[in-house]
Structure formats: structure tokens, C-alpha cells
């Protein structure tokens, strides 16, 4: 495998749109041809060579090409967009749409990435060593076809709306997830090893969410079915299966509806009741505080 190194030499004043950084775009080209590839900033077109120092040589095909992006690209969008093969390594933080619509190959982002990583992804592997923003593995705005295949692994935390309209593939989050996970999902699997907040599986039609940490507020549309032993990221464990979202339409197989699956750590009897009581007490206090009349007001 041949390596091309792209080192950013000046920070873009706005945001740079650099989809021409994939192994597919660079394979088989001379360094001069690579320098002449288009990038966009605002409504203007520039060349890749104006923003990046380019060294090394690409392979003859995308599969033979490794691209290493060096320097601060936290204002560069669309890195690895639509890539189909080969390897992309991003050494620092990156902006939105890393690996969006990728169909194959591997991307390793060593820092944090912003929102929409892996949007509409169909295949390949995307690994994010830091944190990810909102909408990872989701659908583009308005679209109903989110992540369809491939794997995303985030070592850190993720923002909100993970796997929005997800249809396939797997997302593993080693840290925590913000609200809205698997909204409108019709397939695929999301594993959260840390904690979740709320709206876990809201309006989920099919697919699987596994949560190993805690959830602040459960969706009311899920019901407990049984405890099951399943494999989570290579490890066998027994978890409680809940199905839902019961408020959504569900297709049927042999007369039985197919639900979305949500796996949580089993709660022991007693512990469950105590936890529930404590949660309700917290909720009552919070509500009271929200609706309490201001200090010194005349109302009773």
C-alpha cells in the first residue's frame, strides 16, 4: 500500500469542503494532478494544493492507497466522503461529515469529529478515537435512509441523534451518548457502553440498541419481555430485552409484529423498586421546583 500525506499549511478563513481527499480521488494520479483537485470554501473554488502540502505517492487503485491527513483540520469538512476502499488516517480533529456515504475501506480519526460522521454510510469501518458530535450514522436532512451498513466505533462520547433513521450496520460507542438514540431506526445495531440520557429508541421501528450504563429516563413505549444472553462487542452477557416503540407501525412476520429491541442491564427485584422510588422522588422535586411560585409572590 502506497501513502500520500496531506499536511494542511494554512487554516481556511471559512470552512473548507475537501471531498477530494479520499483514496478514490487520489489513486493513480501524479502529485501535480492531486494538487490541482478542487476544494471549496464559501462559494469559491480552490485547489487542494493551495491548502495542503502534498507528499508521497498514491497507489494505482483506491485499495492500494493510504491517505494521511496531518495538521489541524478542525475546519475541514467531508474528509473521506463517499470513499470506497483504501485507508484514510486523520491525525487531528476534523469537522463535519467524516466518512459520510462511505461504502468501503477504513477511516481512523485520531482526534474528535464534528456532527454527521458516517451519514448514509453503506460499508467500511470508521473509527473515531476521540468524541463525535451529533447525528453520527444518521440520515441526511430529510432523508429516510440513514446508515445502511459498515461499522462505526467511537472511543469517546457522542452527541445527540445517534443513528437517526439507521437501517443497518453497527455503531459502538465506548463513552456516553446524549439524547435521541436510534430515532426512526428500521435496522442496525447501536451499542452504548457508557450512559445514556433519554429518548432511547423513540419512534424506533426495528433494529437494536444495547445500553450497558444507565439511562436517565426510559421511553414509555417499551415493554420488558425477558432476559437474554447476547454477544455485545465480542463479549457474552445476560441483558434484559425490552421491545418497542409500541406507538409505531411494525411489520409482521408469521403474524407476529417485529419490534425494535432495547437491551438494558437487568435490575434485581427490590433494587428496581428502590431505584424507581428514588427516580420518582427526584422527578417530583424537579417538578415542584419548576412550578413553584417565585419567592415573595402573593399566591398560595
Amino acid at each position: 500500500m502506497e501513502t500520500v500525506t496531506l499536511t494542511i499549511k494554512k487554516a481556511p478563513t471559512l470552512y473548507l469542503e475537501a471531498e477530494a481527499t479520499t483514496p478514490d480521488a487520489l489513486a493513480g494520479k501524479s502529485l501535480d494532478q492531486i494538487r490541482a483537485l478542487p476544494v471549496y470554501m464559501g462559494n469559491e473554488e480552490f485547489t487542494l494544493g493551495e491548502f495542503f502540502e502534498i507528499a508521497g505517492a498514491p497507489g494505482a487503485t483506491a485499495a492500494d492507497t493510504r491517505v494521511v491527513v496531518k495538521g489541524d483540520v478542525s475546519r475541514v469538512k467531508y474528509l473521506g466522503m463517499k470513499m470506497s476502499a483504501g485507508e484514510l488516517v486523520i491525525e487531528s480533529n476534523a469537522d463535519m461529515y467524516v466518512g459520510a456515504w462511505m461504502t468501503g475501506g477504513t477511516i481512523t480519526a485520531k482526534g474528535n469529529v464534528d456532527s454527521f460522521a458516517g451519514t448514509g454510510m453503506k460499508g467500511g469501518e470508521l473509527t473515531i478515537m476521540g468524541n463525535a458530535g451529533n447525528y453520527i450514522g444518521s440520515a441526511y436532512r430529510g432523508d429516510w435512509r440513514g446508515m445502511q451498513g459498515g461499522r462505526i466505533r467511537v472511543k469517546g462520547n457522542v452527541g445527540s441523534d445517534t443513528g437517526y433513521f439507521m437501517n443497518g450496520g453497527e455503531i459502538v460507542i465506548e463513552g456516553n451518548a446524549d439524547v435521541h438514540v436510534g430515532t426512526h431506526a428500521e435496522g442496525g445495531k447501536i451499542v452504548i457502553k457508557g450512559n445514556a440520557k433519554s429518548r432511547l429508541g423513540g419512534q424506533m421501528v426495528e433494529g437494536t440498541i444495547v445500553l450497558l450504563g444507565t439511562v436517565d429516563v426510559m421511553m414509555p413505549g417499551f415493554k420488558y419481555v425477558r432476559d437474554e444472553e447476547i454477544e455485545v462487542d465480542g463479549e457474552k452477557m445476560t441483558l434484559s430485552l425490552y421491545v418497542g416503540d409500541l406507538g409505531e407501525r411494525h411489520r409482521k412476520r408469521k403474524g407476529e409484529p417485529i419490534y425494535g429491541k432495547l437491551y438494558l442491564r437487568p435490575v434485581k427485584a427490590g433494587e428496581d423498586a428502590a431505584a424507581r422510588e428514588a427516580r420518582l422522588a427526584r422527578a417530583r422535586e424537579a417538578k415542584k421546583a419548576r412550578f413553584a411560585p417565585p419567592e415573595g409572590s402573593a399566591s398560595a
Binding site: 462559494n43 440520515a139 441526511y140 436532512r141 430529510g142 432523508d143 429516510w144 407501525r249
Partner: protein
């Protein structure tokens, strides 16, 4: 203005009856003329095909539902946005293109007149603002009448003159072109959570049937002598077995004779007939009934149709047939927009993917082509996609390819996932007809122009007509592949619109001299109708009359009013 001479092309023009003869076409001051001076700019069209500008009889290209489609489908313009070049504007969108792309893409294919097929009167101002922002092409818009409270009340009481006076008033208020009817009575019924699936289903509250609405509006249309006939999208669209409803609707037109000064012969235009030609009684035994439909159409000269060809693309359906769109979202579970337009109409929008792997979609594709191939009179059957409902208008060149080449359509038909089932549910496999360039010119130029009452202006190359001239880079006397047909019709070598070259070698070079067509129909003063209008605005409408009418150059900077005198 400049003079042009398009020399030595193979000319196909049904208006002058020229069938591929080598001929020169002369243009002066925006009109076709017999000859020009030696200073005329000469275009060498030798080895190429020359036709008049094409005429679009039915497309949804401007107005609130088109714009809501753009609004709620950002994914439709993902990756498709192109920066403007040569002083042109940025374009984007596939099934619901921007106004600029609409104008440019029609012009590049050689279209010079386009009719927006469903204008909600209350939002006529929006429709005209979008038409204004659509460059190059001349456009008109059809206000919808089939579920309008005024019309329902007048027709229930058999008040023909009042119906006609109201049509005249509304055409003037909205700057509309023709009487459009969508799911007569059914859209009003939708406001009650119901529908009218046959021509005899009563409309709730109004106690009138679709049959009465259709016949009444044909009669009023001919009473006024409008350039176009009543233009209908019948009840029961899109359902298996609906061809009987379509035939029932056709029969409502029997006995009517066209009354107008424009040379129009039909009294009913039925649109997107593909969606209305289904047999079977469920999606499993769904089949083509194009034969029964076209037997009727061929035998009745007072009827014209357009096809509504499915193009096998991902598209955005949008119609004033509100109950149908609800039915569709229940079928495909994709996002649904729905709106009720006060006393007038409604609309719904749902994205749709016509997949070649789905049997029903492939059968729909075949039916659209069968209608055109079974048409005995190409002057009465026009090519449309009911843009964007059956597919985007930018696919016309592909439909022309399928109609002109049995090889091309067999290649598509036999490679469907369910090819055997599709072939046995349709007639297409047994149809050997390949349309000629002349027949294509009839179906896309002379035919629709005549049906719209515009035969003296558009759709032909006779001296005195508007100089809309198109040169396609294809030699009808040489051999060519099916794909070369599609390529040639996608990007015309030259388009002259009202005497101004707007496209050269497939590239838009000029924003032209766009006009908005509307019909100014004069009737005797009718105090009752004026009083009814005033009363309904006071009582029911959310806007006042002053905020309703389309007035002034802001909305219509370059009007082309067609006058009709129905005073007695």
C-alpha cells in the same frame, strides 16, 4: 430584431405537414417568415432534425405544493447543485428542481411553453411569483375548479351562466389559463375524511356527484369558448381496477361539441391516463387496461389525453387529490405533507421510489408507453410524466427513446426483476410500433398546442407563428442507436424562443423573453356572482379580496393575455 436562417435541416412539422424534408426555416422579428434578407444569421442544420418548440400540457412546476416539496425534501438536491455559468443562476434539485433549473432544463430539451397543471386560486400569487422566476419558457397555470364551493353550489342548482361567470371572474383574479378539475368532489370529501371513488359518489354536504361537476364544467367551458377544454384528473386515481371509473368519466363527455375560435376540437382533456388505466382488484393481480382505455380514446375525437409515463426514478408525488396522497403514505410509509385550501381545494405530497424491482412499478412503466403506442391519432395523445408524479420532466428524452425504439424498451422490459409477471400483466411485449420523428412532433408540439387552443402561435413552423425553433443533433436518415435519441433530445443543438437563440450546443446562453399566458374571458355583468364572491370573502376566506387577486407587474411582468368574448 435579428433575422435567422436555419438551413438544410430535416424538418418535422405537423402544422405544415412536412415529414422530414430538407427545408430552410426563416425567422424575423420573433416570427416564422417565408424568407429573410442576406444579413440573416445562418445556422447550418444539415444532418440534423428541426422541429418547432415543444409544448408541455401538464406539469407541476410552480406554486405552493411544488415549493413545499422542495422545502421538505432537502435530500432531493443533495449532490445535484451546480454553480451558475455564463451569467446563469445556480441550479439544483432532481424531482423538484429550482425554478431556474426548471426553465433551463425545459429549454435545453427544446420546450418553449409549459403549463402548470394545478394552481390553488388562493395561492395564485405564489404560483405567479415562481413562474416569474422561471426563465425562458412561456408559462400558464390552470386554477382548480372541481372542488370549489362556488362551483359546487352553482352546479347543484344547474346555474350554468353563474358557473361560467365565476370561471371568468376566477381566471381574471388568478390570471389563470384553463379549467382544471382534480378528483371532482373527492378533494372536498377529503375535508370530511372521505373520498369520491366513482363518478356517482355524492359529495358530503353539497349533495352533488362528480358526474354533475364534470358535465357542468364542460358545459360552462364551452359556453365561454375558452382556448383549452376542461382538463381533468378523474376520481379513483392509482387504484387497481380504476379503469372503469376512467371510462365512466370519459362517457360524461359524450355528446359535447367544442365551441371556440381557436381550432380546438376536444371538450375533455384527461391527464396522466397511465394512473387511471389499471385492472385487477388488488396489488397481486394488478394489470394493464391500456387497451380498453385506448379503444375508447381512439373512437372519440372530442377527447384528448396525456400519458403520465412512469420513468422508474425516485420522485416526489404531489397533487390536489388530497385523499390519494394519504392513501399513498399509508402504502409506502414515507413522509406526508397535507394542506386544506379553504373553500377551494387541498393538496398532499409524498416521496415515491418507482423501483424496477417492484412489479407494480414496472407495470406502471409499461402502461404509460402502451398508451402512446396504442394511440391511433398522435394529435390527441401527448407525452407527459405528470411531473413530478410519475417522474421528472427531464426524462422526456428517455421516454421518447422507449417510444421510438422497440429494442430499447425490450431491453428494459426483459431485465425487470419480475419480467415474466410484468410481461403477462401488460401488452407492451406484443407492441412492435416505433414512433417516428413526425409522430413525436405531433405528441409533443402540434397536438398539445392545438388542445390548448394555441395552434396559431405555438407548436408549428408555419409563417406567422411564433419563432420557436429547435434543432436536434440527430440525423433521421442515418442509422442511430436508441441512446443517441435520448442524447439528442436532452441537449438541443439550437433553441430559438420567440426569435431569440436561448440554447446553443445544449448550453443555455440567454434568459429569453419569458411571457405569462392567461385567459381574459369577458361575460355579461353578473351581479349575483359578484355578490356571492363578496359574501364568501367576508364570511369564510382568511384573506380579503384585495389580498387575493393577482394584479400588476410584480406578479406578471410580461403578460400574454388571450381574449375570449362570451358576452351576449
Amino acid at each position: 430584431m435579428a433575422e435567422y436562417l436555419i438551413k438544410n435541416g430535416f424538418v418535422f412539422d405537423p402544422v405544415t405537414g412536412v415529414k422530414g424534408d430538407k427545408k430552410d426555416i426563416a425567422v424575423k422579428d420573433g416570427k416564422i417568415v417565408d424568407s429573410v434578407s442576406s444579413s440573416a444569421k445562418v445556422y447550418d442544420a444539415s444532418g440534423k432534425t428541426v422541429m418547432a418548440g415543444a409544448v408541455e400540457v401538464h406539469a407541476h412546476v410552480a406554486g405552493p405544493k411544488v415549493n413545499e416539496g422542495r422545502n421538505y425534501r432537502p435530500e432531493d438536491k443533495l449532490f445535484g447543485t451546480r454553480a451558475g455559468v455564463n451569467g446563469m443562476r445556480t441550479t439544483g434539485g432532481f424531482s423538484i428542481p429550482t425554478t431556474f433549473k426548471t426553465g433551463y432544463a425545459y429549454a435545453q430539451m427544446g420546450y418553449t411553453v409549459v403549463m402548470e397543471a394545478a394552481m390553488p386560486p388562493l395561492y395564485a400569487r405564489h404560483v405567479h411569483e415562481e413562474i416569474r422566476d422561471t426563465p425562458i419558457i412561456d408559462e400558464g397555470a390552470f386554477p382548480v375548479f372541481g372542488n370549489n364551493w362556488f362551483v359546487l353550489e352553482y352546479l347543484k342548482n344547474n346555474e350554468l351562466e353563474n358557473t361560467a361567470a365565476y370561471i371568468s371572474w376566477l381566471l381574471r383574479a388568478t390570471k389563470g389559463y384553463a379549467v382544471k378539475v382534480v378528483n371532482p368532489g373527492g378533494t372536498e370529501a377529503w375535508a370530511w375524511g372521505l373520498n369520491c371513488l366513482s363518478v356517482n359518489d355524492p359529495v358530503p354536504y353539497f349533495d352533488i356527484t362528480p358526474a354533475q361537476i364534470v358535465k357542468g364544467l364542460i358545459e360552462a367551458n364551452e359556453y365561454l369558448g375558452l382556448p383549452h377544454s376542461m382538463h381533468i384528473h378523474a376520481n379513483n386515481l392509482g387504484n387497481p381496477g380504476n379503469y372503469t371509473t376512467t371510462l365512466d368519466t370519459f362517457r360524461l363527455n359524450e355528446g359535447f361539441k367544442a365551441n371556440n375560435r381557436f381550432g380546438r376540437e376536444q371538450t375533455m382533456h384527461h391527464t396522466h391516463v397511465q394512473f387511471h388505466s389499471y385492472g385487477g382488484d388488488n396489488w397481486g393481480n394488478f394489470e394493464s387496461k391500456s387497451d380498453a382505455i385506448m379503444d375508447y380514446v381512439n373512437a372519440h375525437p372530442n377527447l384528448t389525453i396525456d400519458t403520465g409515463n412512469v420513468t422508474l426514478d425516485e420522485t416526489t408525488t404531489m397533487t390536489a387529490d388530497g385523499p390519494f396522497e394519504h392513501h399513498l403514505t399509508e402504502l409506502n410509509h414515507l413522509k406526508w405533507a397535507n394542506v386544506d385550501v379553504e373553500l377551494e381545494t387541498a393538496a398532499g405530497i409524498v416521496p415515491y421510489v418507482y423501483s424496477p424491482d417492484i412489479k407494480v412499478c414496472a407495470i406502471q412503466w409499461a402502461i404509460g408507453l402502451e398508451l402512446a403506442l396504442l394511440a391511433k391519432d398522435p394529435m390527441r395523445c401527448f407525452i407527459t410524466t405528470d411531473h413530478p408524479n410519475a417522474g421528472p420532466f427531464t426524462r422526456y428524452p428517455r421516454i421518447i427513446k422507449w417510444l421510438m425504439s422497440k429494442e430499447a424498451r425490450e431491453e428494459r422490459l426483459t431485465t425487470f426483476k419480475h419480467a415474466d409477471k410484468v410481461i403477462s400483466a401488460t401488452h407492451l411485449h406484443g407492441l412492435d410500433r416505433e414512433l417516428s420523428f413526425y409522430e413525436i412532433a405531433q405528441m409533443t408540439r402540434a397536438g398539445p398546442a392545438k388542445a390548448l387552443g394555441l395552434m396559431g402561435t405555438y407548436g408549428g413552423l408555419a409563417p406567422g407563428m411564433d419563432a420557436d425553433v429547435v434543432v436536434y443533433d440527430i440525423n433521421p436518415e442515418a442509422s442511430f442507436t436508441p441512446d443517441q435519441i435520448e442524447q439528442a433530445f436532452t441537449a438541443a443543438a439550437l433553441v430559438i424562443k420567440t426569435g431569440v437563440p436561448v440554447v446553443e450546443n445544449g448550453v443555455v446562453i440567454n434568459n429569453g423573453n419569458k411571457r405569462t399566458l392567461w385567459v381574459d374571458a369577458k361575460v355579461n355583468e353578473n351581479p349575483q356572482v359578484l355578490r356571492d364572491v363578496e359574501e364568501k370573502f367576508l364570511k369564510y376566506y382568511s384573506v380579503s379580496l384585495n389580498n387575493y387577486e393577482v394584479k400588476g407587474g410584480h406578479y406578471i411582468p410580461n403578460p400574454y393575455a388571450i381574449e375570449v368574448d362570451a358576452t351576449q
